[in-house]
């Protein structure tokens, strides 16, 4: 075994430049794949994290049909107190649910006493919202970041409105709302903070206290438009989804149909499509890597067999078994693939290490993303297995040719 490998290594070194170029090609392919996967993984994680932790939560419960018309922020598709109670029970019973926040969502007229604009608002319980979307607080770029998220009488407004309406923290503003029965109601607020926007729907919403929201809407019952749920870990997402679907399916409306709907963050954010695209690109790069290894190793091995026909004839004549000849050439191709892949992996680790020491920061939408690429062991192992399997496949035909060669004809070859 070791002697076969030694022979393979010597033969690879015989054509140093060709071997080096091929190994280099494989190395670059591996590097491209691993770096892309590591960087895209970090990007995905950051983006998903910012979307879920500062805005959406990991999943959301609404009254059936609400998400379909969420753009209009309808006031007649609320979860009734009875249903909310059952939802809360189901959430509290689930071991993987970390926190949840009940939200009253509404559209309002925002006035600074000289100009008006429309604003989308979430009425939230500050403590619950803080627990369900802990990163929301980090989006406050001006105002009190340490106190309660939003106190009664205060409003958090998105940067765009603050800038457009020229209002600052501490300014008085008026929010005017038309409620479900058509009557208009207004209330004075003080700007408590200004929020950085995030990508996706809801990324430019304002926040008020849930009691203020209900007062503005003149709600007589504690109805809720949205329940944002935070899980202990994203890994349990589909498990929780299944459990909650079962539990929430019990909540029926008067017609006996399910009264609620459950959505994952990925159903609610268009960034899920970007994630899908990234995954597709990863797949393409993987296919490219397979092609690179296959073509380059096969090319080298076909040449190697062709150049060494007389040598093969000699080895066969002096009694080398066909299987052994096959092993000699297979291990040559394998060694080439593995060395190239190993070099690529080593270089990837070095580059990823460097990128973590000198992070790349770039803007995506209105967010600053700091890449912290991580090489997952599964991914690295996968690349190694890919290199082994593909270079073995690539060497199979040339090795088979060598093993099947007729010694007399091979010896006569010039």
């Amino acid at each position: 075994m070791t002697s076969t490998l030694k022979l393979a290594a010597r033969n690879l070194l015989r054509y140093r430049r060709r071997t080096l170029l091929t190994a280099l090609l494989i190395m670059l392919g591996v590097l491209a794949l691993l770096l892309f996967v590591a960087a895209a993984g970090s990007f995905k994680q950051t983006m998903v994290g910012s979307i879920t932790d500062s805005m959406l939560g990991h999943l959301q419960v609404h009254r059936k049909g609400y998400t379909q018309s969420i753009d209009n922020l309808p006031l007649n598709l609320n979860l009734q107190p009875n249903a909310v109670g059952k939802i809360e029970l189901a959430l509290k019973a689930d071991p993987d649910v970390a926190a949840y926040s009940l939200r009253v969502k509404l559209g309002a007229m925002f006035s600074n006493f000289t100009e008006n604009t429309s604003i989308r608002l979430n009425g939230v319980d500050p403590a619950a919202e803080d627990a369900a979307v802990p990163a929301l607080r980090q989006r406050i770029n001006d105002g009190d970041k340490t106190g309660p998220l939003v106190a009664p009488g205060k409003v958090l407004i998105p940067t765009l409105i603050a800038r457009g309406m020229k209002v600052n923290v501490g300014d008085n503003v008026v929010l005017v709302v038309t409620n479900a029965s058509g009557s208009v109601n207004g209330k004075n607020f003080v700007v408590g903070g200004i929020l950085d926007g995030v990508t996706g729907p809801g990324g430019r919403d304002g926040y008020i206290h849930i009691d203020d929201a209900r007062e503005l809407l003149r709600m007589d019952k504690p109805e809720v438009m949205e329940v944002a749920v935070c899980l202990k870990s994203l890994k349990s997402l589909s498990a929780v989804q299944q459990r909650l679907n079962a539990a929430l399916g019990e909540i029926r409306n008067k017609e006996g149909k399910p009264a609620t709907e459950l959505h994952l963050w990925s159903d609610l954010s268009p960034f899920a499509n970007i994630v899908k695209m990234i995954d597709l690109m990863t797949l393409f790069i993987r296919i490219m890597l397979i092609a690179i290894v296959l073509v380059s190793v096969m090319n080298v091995m076909l040449m190697a067999v062709y150049e060494r026909i007389r040598e093969i004839g000699t080895l066969a004549a002096i009694g080398t078994q066909p299987g052994k000849l096959m092993a000699i050439f297979l291990s040559e191709g394998l060694l080439l693939g593995i060395v190239g892949a190993a070099a690529g992996i080593a270089l990837s680790y070095a580059l990823v290490g460097y990128l973590n020491l000198n992070p790349v920061v770039f803007a995506f939408g209105r967010e600053q993303i700091t890449l912290r690429p991580v090489l997952e062991l599964v991914e690295v192992g996968g690349v190694l297995i890919l290199a082994v399997v593909v270079s073995a496949l690539a060497s199979l035909q040339p090795a088979w040719r060598a093993a099947r060669m007729d010694p007399i004809q091979a010896l006569r070859h010039v």
Partner: protein, 229 residues
């Protein structure tokens, strides 16, 4: 029992639709410890006959036994085993493995064909490398030694497994006269020391004279057999 017994061997090559007869009924016997030569003009069938003896090809008809084994119909891998066990080969172009040192070339059959243990290999390689006078060059690569030295290494590689028979198709064709004589002398000494039979082919009349037994082929037939000199 003779080492080799050939009875009415024929060999036809297929070229397109045509059958080209290369051997037309050859019978002979060669005993143990022989130093024999196949001679004859170009195209007379010397290489064809050596290939048959070397289990590299099957005769079209006839029986062929080497060392008591009927080798006329051996399968591919059985033939490879037989060659590895009982035969040694020396080639016109030396055919050493370029990436292996002199020592490793000689060791190859024991390592890759026989699968001997390192101690056994070492003992045996050192013995033959000494016998052919190449210990000084043991670590050199084939491209660092002369043609005559390469053929010495080839002789050692052929002998290292202690075969019954060494076959050499034109072993001296690529060597100058003096060197050719020395290689033949070496082969004869090896025969004396190890008791291995040597059969070689040549069309050089002077080289032919070194053989103790010659078989003259002409157009696929054995036309003369006898002790030379």
């Amino acid at each position: 029992m003779p080492l080799i017994r050939a009875e009415n061997i024929t060999k036809n090559y297929r070229v397109g639709d045509m059958e080209v007869p290369a051997l037309k009924g050859v019978s002979f016997e060669i005993g143990e410890g022989a130093f024999a030569a196949f001679v004859g003009p170009s195209g007379s069938g010397k290489s064809t006959l050596l290939n048959l003896l070397g289990c590299l090809d099957h005769p079209t008809s006839g029986t062929l036994t080497v060392n008591g084994t009927d080798i006329a119909t051996l399968s591919r891998s059985a033939a490879a085993s037989f060659r590895g066990e009982h035969l040694g080969f020396i080639f016109q172009d030396f055919n050493l493995v370029p990436v292996l040192s002199v020592y490793e070339n000689i060791e190859y059959p024991l390592l890759m064909v026989r699968g001997w243990s390192p101690e056994k290999r070492r003992e045996r390689v050192l013995k033959v490398i000494d016998a052919v006078g190449m210990n000084e060059q043991a670590h050199k690569r084939p491209d660092q030694i002369s043609g005559g030295q390469k053929q010495r290494v080839a002789v050692a590689r052929a002998l290292v497994g202690e075969p019954k028979l060494v076959l050499a198709d034109e072993p001296t064709a690529n060597l100058d006269h003096d060197t050719a004589y020395r290689i033949l002398g070496l082969m004869k000494t090896m025969r004396d020391n190890f008791g291995t039979s040597f059969i070689f082919s040549t069309h050089d009349p002077k080289i032919m004279g070194e053989a103790e037994l010659t078989f003259t082929l002409e157009d696929g037939r054995l036309v003369q057999e006898g002790g030379a000199a």
